[in-house]
Symmetry: C2
Subunit: 446 residues, 2 copies
C-alpha cells in the first residue's frame, strides 16, 4: 500500500508536481501538476498499453441548474462538439475519426466529462481537440437551434426505454423538484425554453480552470502531458486562483419520505425501482455499503437474483445499486417482470429489505461480497478509460485519491457488524417505490 500524501490540489503550490502514488515498476504512478490559474493535470502511467484515455472533467452538473435552466448542463455538453474558432463540428469529428479515436462526453448530476481514447501516438491530437472544445466553444445560435432537436430526440429515446426512464422517475419520486430530483436531460419544456445567451453565460461562468481537471491514463509521460495541456490551454491559464475544493455536502437533500409513484404506460413489462436514502460520497461506510450491495443484489449468487430470477423465474433483469452524491445517496433495486406478477415481485423485494434489516448478511455472504467487490474493482480497472475516469472523478470530488491497493484494503477491512448495522439503518427507512407499466388507475403501497 502506498502512502499517499494527503495534500489537496487547492493546497498544492501552482506550477508544482506531486506524486500521489508511486506505483510499481513505472506502472500505476499517479502524478498531479497544478498549472497557473488553478488547472489540475492528473495522470496515471500504464506503460504496457498502446493507448491513452484523455479526459477533461468539469465540476458542474445538472444539480447546479436553476429550475428554469433544467437541462442546460447537458445541452452545453452537446454544444461543445459544435465548433471553435479553429474547428467546425466536422473538423472536430473528422480529426478523431481519421485516427479511429473514440470521442465522447457525458453529463452527470455533479460533473461533466469530455474524453477521447486514442493510440498513444495520437495523444497530442486528442489533447488539442478536446482542450479546444472545452476552452473555446463558439456556442452559435444556429447550432443551439439544430442541437435542440437532437436533445429532444434524446429525451424521446429515453422515454421509449422504460428500463432507463424508471431511474429518472425514481429520482423525481425521491427528491421531488429539488435539483437532485430533476432529470439530467431536462424536460421538453425547459429544453424548448433555453436560449443561446443563457447557455453561453452558464458556459463562461463554470468552465474555468479552477473548476476543471485534466485526467489522463495510459502509455504517457506526465511531463509531456503537462506540456501539451499547457500549450492547448494557452491564454486561459493566468492569475493566482487555486483549484476549486471538492463540492461540499451541507444539509442533505431531503428525501420525500417514501410513497409510490406510478407511471401508467402500455409497456410489456412492469418496471419497478424500490429504494431508500443511503450514504453521501464521503461517508466512510461506503465500502461496507458496496459489500452489502454486492451480496444483496450485485451478482448472480445474490439474494435478489436467487429469489426472483433463479428460483422463481419472475424476471430477466433484477439487481440492486447504490448512488452517491456530495450530500446524500440512495440504495435501491430494479426489477422488470410481467405486469400480472408485479405484486408478487414487490412482495419478495419488501421481504428481502425486511430480512436484511432484521438479520443482515451471513458471514459467508460477507466474504463472497468482499471477494466480488475486490475482483470486479481490479478487473474493472484494466483499460485506460476506467483508470482515467477513476483519477479524474476522484480529483474532482475527493480531497485525496486512494490507490487501488488502498481501495482493496478498505474493502478487506469491512466487518460483519458494520455491514449489518448499516443494512438495518438504511432498510428500516420507509422506501420509495416507482413503477412503470399498464397500471392506469391502480394504486401501490410501500
Amino acid at each position: 500500500m502506498s502512502g499517499a500524501p494527503a495534500i489537496a490540489a487547492a493546497e498544492q503550490e501552482p506550477g508544482s508536481t506531486v506524486v500521489l502514488h508511486p506505483g510499481i515498476d513505472g506502472a500505476g504512478t499517479v502524478r498531479r501538476t497544478v498549472l497557473p490559474g488553478g488547472l489540475r493535470v492528473v495522470t496515471e502511467t500504464m506503460p504496457t498499453v498502446r493507448s491513452v484515455a484523455f479526459g477533461i472533467w468539469a465540476g458542474i452538473g445538472s444539480r447546479d441548474e436553476d429550475l428554469a435552466d433544467a437541462g442546460a448542463t447537458h445541452y452545453l455538453e452537446h454544444l461543445l462538439f459544435k465548433g471553435t474558432p479553429r474547428r467546425s463540428a466536422l473538423d472536430i469529428s473528422a480529426a478523431m475519426d481519421a485516427v479511429g479515436g473514440d470521442l465522447n462526453a457525458f453529463t452527470a448530476k455533479e460533473y461533466t466529462c469530455y474524453y477521447a481514447r486514442v493510440l498513444d501516438a495520437d495523444l497530442p491530437l486528442a489533447v488539442d481537440v478536446v482542450s479546444d472544445m472545452v476552452t473555446s466553444s463558439l456556442i452559435e445560435e444556429a447550432d443551439v437551434e439544430a442541437e435542440r432537436g437532437v436533445i429532444l430526440e434524446e429525451i424521446s429515446m429515453r422515454d421509449d426505454d422504460p428500463s432507463d426512464l424508471i431511474h429518472d422517475e425514481f429520482a423525481i419520486a425521491m427528491y421531488g423538484d429539488a435539483p437532485l430530483g430533476r432529470p439530467i436531460l431536462g424536460t421538453v419544456d425547459t429544453i424548448n425554453a433555453l436560449r443561446r445567451d443563457g447557455i453561453a453565460r452558464y458556459y463562461h461562468a463554470h468552465y474555468r480552470p479552477p473548476n476543471l481537471v485534466v485526467a489522463v491514463a495510459g502509455n504517457v509521460d506526465h511531463h509531456r502531458v503537462v506540456e501539451l495541456v499547457g500549450r492547448a490551454f494557452e491564454g486561459h491559464l493566468s492569475g493566482a486562483e487555486r483549484p476549486a475544493r471538492p463540492r461540499v455536502g451541507g444539509e442533505p437533500t431531503p428525501a420525500l419520505g417514501g410513497g409510490a409513484r406510478v407511471i401508467a404506460d402500455d409497456t410489456e413489462q412492469a418496471h419497478l425501482v424500490l429504494g431508500v436514502p443511503a450514504l453521501a460520497r464521503h461517508d466512510d461506510r461506503r465500502f461496507a455499503l458496496g459489500v452489502f450491495n454486492a451480496a444483496f443484489g450485485g451478482g448472480m449468487s445474490s439474494r435478489l437474483f436467487q429469489e426472483i430470477r433463479e428460483k422463481r423465474g419472475l424476471a430477466y433483469s433484477v439487481y440492486s445499486y447504490t448512488s452517491q452524491h456530495c450530500d446524500t445517496g440512495s440504495f435501491g433495486l430494479y426489477a422488470g417482470c410481467q405486469p400480472a406478477k408485479v405484486d408478487e415481485v414487490l412482495e419478495i423485494c419488501r421481504q428481502e429489505f425486511a430480512k436484511a434489516a432484521a438479520r443482515g448478511l451471513s458471514a459467508e455472504e460477507l466474504e463472497r461480497g468482499k471477494g466480488q467487490l475486490r475482483g470486479s474493482t481490479v478487473l474493472g480497472l484494466e483499460d485506460t478509460g476506467s483508470r482515467m475516469s477513476r483519477i479524474g472523478k476522484s480529483e474532482l470530488v475527493y480531497d485525496s485519491l486512494l490507490s487501488v491497493d488502498e481501495v482493496l484494503a478498505r474493502i478487506d477491512a469491512v466487518g460483519l457488524d458494520e455491514v449489518n448495522a448499516l443494512a438495518r439503518e438504511l432498510l428500516e427507512q420507509r422506501p420509495t417505490l416507482t413503477v412503470i407499466g399498464p397500471f392506469e388507475g391502480r394504486e401501490f403501497t410501500v
Copy 2:
C-alpha cells in the same frame, strides 16, 4: 506481418500444438492445440495484464433450429447455468462471484459462447466451472420450467425497447421465416411449446468436442491451459474425430427483395432500419465494406451523422452497420426520430444510398474511413475479452486466423475503385425498410 501457417484445425494432428502467430516479445502469440476427440484450444498471450478471459464457443446458433424449435439454442444457453452433477446453479454463480469474476454467455445466429473473465490466478476455477457447465449440464425439468419465465421476460424486455426490437423485425422483413430471419430469443409461442426432452436432445447432439472451441486470452501459458482443459473435459475427449470445419455458406438465404414492414406501436420516436443484402463472411471485399461503413455511417464525421444529426438535428442515434453470416450478410442503417419527421429522415437516407451508389466515396473519405477502422480495430483489442472473442469466433468460422497486423494490412490495401464498385453493387439493390412507431394504417414505400 507474421506468416500464419494456413493449416485448418481439421487438418491438424490430434494431440499436436501449432503456433498460428508468433507474436512479439511473448505478447500476441497465438497457439492452437487439437485434443483427442476433436476439441480445439486456442490461446493468445497478453503477458502485461493481470486477467484472463476464458471462453467456450459452440458452433451452434439459432439458424440451426427447426421452425418449431425456434429459441431452443438460446433457451439451452440459459439452462447451462442451472447446474451439473457437481454444482447447483447457486454453486456456479457463487464460485464466480466470490472472486469477482464476470460469468456470462450469449447466443447468436451461428454460434453460442460461454465465458468468464477473472484474475489470472483464478484461471483454474474459470476453466473448471465453465467446462463443467458446457459438458455436464443436467437440464432438469424444474429448471426448464423456471427458466421459461425468465426467457419470456427477456422477450418482453426486448419488446419494450424499440431500438433493439427493430433489428429483429428487420431480419423478419429481410428473410421472412427462413432460419436467418427468426429472432434468436424465439417467440412466446415457441418458448411455451419447448419441452425438456427436445432441448436436452439438442444439447447432446450439438455440444460435442468437434463442434467446440476453447478460447483463452490474457496472462496465460498455453500448455498450462491445455492441461487444465484436458482435466476439465476428462471423460469427454476420446475417439478419432477431428474438429468440425467452419460452417459452409452454400446457396445464400434469399432476401425477400425489398418492401416495407411497419410495426404500429405507441412509441415516442419512429425507429427505422433501411438495409440491403450485402456480403457473406468469407467475401474478401469485407474489408472494403468495413471502410465504406465507417465513412457512410460509422462515426461522427460520417455522411449519415452529418446530414441527419449534425446539420439538421433530426436524430440523436443514427448509424450504419454490417452483419455477416456464412451464406449472406446485410448492410443497413438505423435512425430514431420524431414520428412527424420520419418522411424527411427516410428521404435523406434514400438519397444517401443513391448518392453513394452513384458517386461512391471521395478519396478523403476513404482515407478517413481506413484510419477509423484501423484505429478502432487496435483500440478495440486491448482487453482480454475482445482478444478472446476474436480468436474464438475466428477459429469457429474461418479456416485460418489473421493476425491483427494482417487485418490492418488488409484495411490499408482497400482501394477507392473497389469500395465504390461495391457501394454501387450493394446500394443499387432495392432496400428493405422496417419502421416501428405510431403509424397504424400508414403505408411506407421504399
